[in-house]
């Protein structure tokens, strides 16, 4: 375990990488190579926070889309 942990620590994921993983997850698709790097780099806490932010953005963009449609119909 310690050996694995020391292997993982040096390359933790950047916010952009976490965002990418989460955005792909909303579609439900992930390439194998990207998965391999997720396994070693992503931490659960990062993914959960990014997931919640992603869900919020998703809801907001849907709300915006709906507002646009409703206002253009009026």
């Amino acid at each position: 375990m310690t050996a694995m942990a020391s292997e993982q620590t040096p390359k933790s994921a950047s916010p952009l990488q976490v965002a990418k993983a989460v955005l792909w997850s909303f579609l439900g698709i992930r390439a194998r190579a990207a998965h391999e790097s997720d396994v070693t780099r992503l931490k659960p806490a990062q993914v959960i926070i990014a997931g919640l932010i992603g869900a919020a953005i998703f809801v907001l963009s849907l709300v915006l889309l709906v507002r646009f449609i409703v206002s253009s119909a009026a």
Partner: protein
């Protein structure tokens, strides 16, 4: 008690006590899994008998057997018993048996909590089923127990509320146990993204349960205080709002739909690769799709309420969000198909149920999409089309996945192979009669037959007759399943199963444990490469 006093000696020597006390006091995940599975199968038969009582009444137009009031009790209790008594505990039973075996853990994290969360269920079931015998009979407000119907009914409603509270508490405790086990007790080397899909789906489902069961508890507590303690949460005359009940209920109810299918997805994701002799296609996308479905499940609840009335913006939001869930779900279906693509497939009973699952569940998914489109939903709300839709998802989805899981893992549980010939009969009878029962309901719904009615207009007679015949065939087919299960588990009949009877199965329970899995397994953690 003696088990507690004697607990000084070495753990390896622990064998179960004989007799009934073994089952009452057990803290062993395999025993508790078995209890859950027998309990849920019993409830399936009880709920199934209620369904047959419904279908007997609907075989012909006109009132045949039951008063309309009792008919409403039948539909309500059928729904409540199947959802909370059969499907949910059955998946918990699978989790109890399989999660420790698949992650290389010796048992569940909280063994006594585990015992408690099971033994609350028979109490709840007794309250629920017993409510038929109180004055006024069982609750007849539909499984959704909408206010103000549910604020008006007799003591049967109170019993249902208490039963739901107890079942909810049991589910939450089970979920805490499953999450703790998965996060803390995995074998060294089994990182989160190397866990078998069944474990992943249960991890996500357990979080969903913890998030929404308290919401249901809140809703039914408000019902209870409205009924007996003078509050007016759902009473417009007192400043409350009955529509609020629907919002709260479905904020629980829609994630609940996924609670009942995600572990099924997990089982199918173990069975398909094993019988295709190929690794699962797109493992990580399966994990991500599951998580994505879980997140989306929280923002679609009001699609159950399009006809209740809401602002156009609200309708559009819930419609779009609902339709978008089809994307991750579709990814899963395509991943299963591509797993099978050019695989060296064989069709033993678990695989038959898995392939059958994909076929019929997808149909249920598509009718769900149709219902998500608001202008169509306005026409089809509360018709038999909806009944057809959710039975395609819950029977052909959840129940078929449970059957697939049973046939897949029973050699590991008992050390014996089930009767393959009878298993295949069970599959084909279930598959055919399922479709005979529920496919005509689409036509009934499109023609305008409302759900939850004991009598109907003459033009619906033909398809109702077919559906009733199918229902009795489906019900009788499950007696065959009971015989198959008794044969292999209780009577111990069947060929001896090797450690790994399915050559394509490669999770820890197949690669590291003999069949049957010993009473105490993984006392020493396996180490993964």
């Amino acid at each position: 008690m003696s088990a507690v006093i004697d607990s000084g000696h070495a753990h390896d020597e622990h064998r179960p006590d004989g007799g009934i006390m073994r089952w009452v006091t057990t803290t062993n995940h395999k025993d508790i899994g078995t209890l859950y599975l027998w309990f849920s199968f019993t409830m399936l038969l009880v709920g199934g008998m209620l369904a047959l009582a419904i279908r007997a009444e609907l075989f012909q137009p006109g009132l045949q057997f039951w008063h309309p009031e009792f008919f409403n009790q039948l539909t309500t209790m059928h729904g409540l018993i199947m959802v909370f008594g059969a499907i949910m505990p059955a998946f918990v039973g699978f989790a109890n048996w399989q999660v420790p075996l698949m992650i290389g853990a010796p048992d569940m994290a909280f063994a006594r909590l585990n015992n408690w969360s099971f033994w609350m269920l028979p109490v709840a079931a007794t309250l629920l089923v017993g409510s038929f015998f109180v004055p006024g009979g069982a609750t007849a407000a539909g499984w959704t127990i909408y206010a103000p119907l549910s604020t008006q009914m007799g003591p049967g409603m109170d019993l249902a509320i208490f039963a739901l509270h107890i079942m909810g508490a049991s589910s939450i405790m089970g979920s805490i146990n499953i999450i703790t086990t998965i996060l803390n007790m995995r074998a060294p080397g089994m990182t989160l993204l190397r866990m078998p899909l069944f474990v992943w789906t249960w991890l996500i489902t357990a979080y969903l349960l913890i998030a929404v069961m308290p919401v249901l508890a809140g809703a039914i507590t408000m019902l209870l205080t409205d009924r007996h303690f003078g509050t007016s949460f759902f009473n417009a005359a007192g400043g409350g709002d009955p529509v609020m009940f629907q919002h709260i209920f479905w904020f629980f109810g829609h994630p609940e739909v996924y609670i009942m299918i995600l572990p099924g997805f997990g089982i199918i994701s173990q069975v398909i690769p094993a019988f295709s002799r190929k690794p699962l296609f797109g493992y990580s996308s399966m994990v991500y799709a599951t998580a994505s479905i879980a997140v989306l499940s929280f923002i679609v609840w009001a699609h159950h309420m399009f006809t209740v009335g809401m602002p156009t913006a609200g309708i559009l939001f819930f419609m779009y969000a609902t339709v978008l869930i089809a994307v991750p779900t579709g990814v899963k279906v395509f991943n299963w198909l591509t797993t099978m693509w050019r695989g060296s497939m064989s069709f033993e009973t678990p695989m038959l149920f898995a392939v059958g699952f994909i076929f019929v569940f997808t149909m249920g998914g598509f009718t769900g999409l149709i219902l998500a489109i608001m202008p169509i939903d306005i026409q089809l709300q509360d018709t038999y089309y909806v009944v057809a839709h959710f039975h395609y998802v819950l029977v052909a989805g959840s129940l078929f996945s449970l059957f697939a899981g049973f046939y897949f893992w029973v050699p590991k549980w008992t050390g014996r192979m089930y009767d393959e010939k009878l298993g295949k009969w069970h599959f084909w009878l279930s598959m055919i009669f399922f479709n005979v029962t529920f496919f005509p309901m689409h036509f009934l719904g499109l023609a305008g037959m409302p759900r939850r009615i004991p009598d109907y207009a003459l033009q619906f007679a033909g398809f109702n007759e077919i559906a009733s015949i199918g229902a009795f065939g489906f019900g009788l087919s499950q007696i065959l399943f009971l015989w198959i299960a008794l044969k292999v588990t209780v009577l111990g009949q069947g060929e001896k199963a090797g450690q790994r009877p399915w050559e394509g199965a490669d999770t820890l329970e197949w690669t590291h444990l003999p069949s049957p899995a010993p009473y105490h397994s993984f006392d020493e953690q396996p180490v993964l490469g």
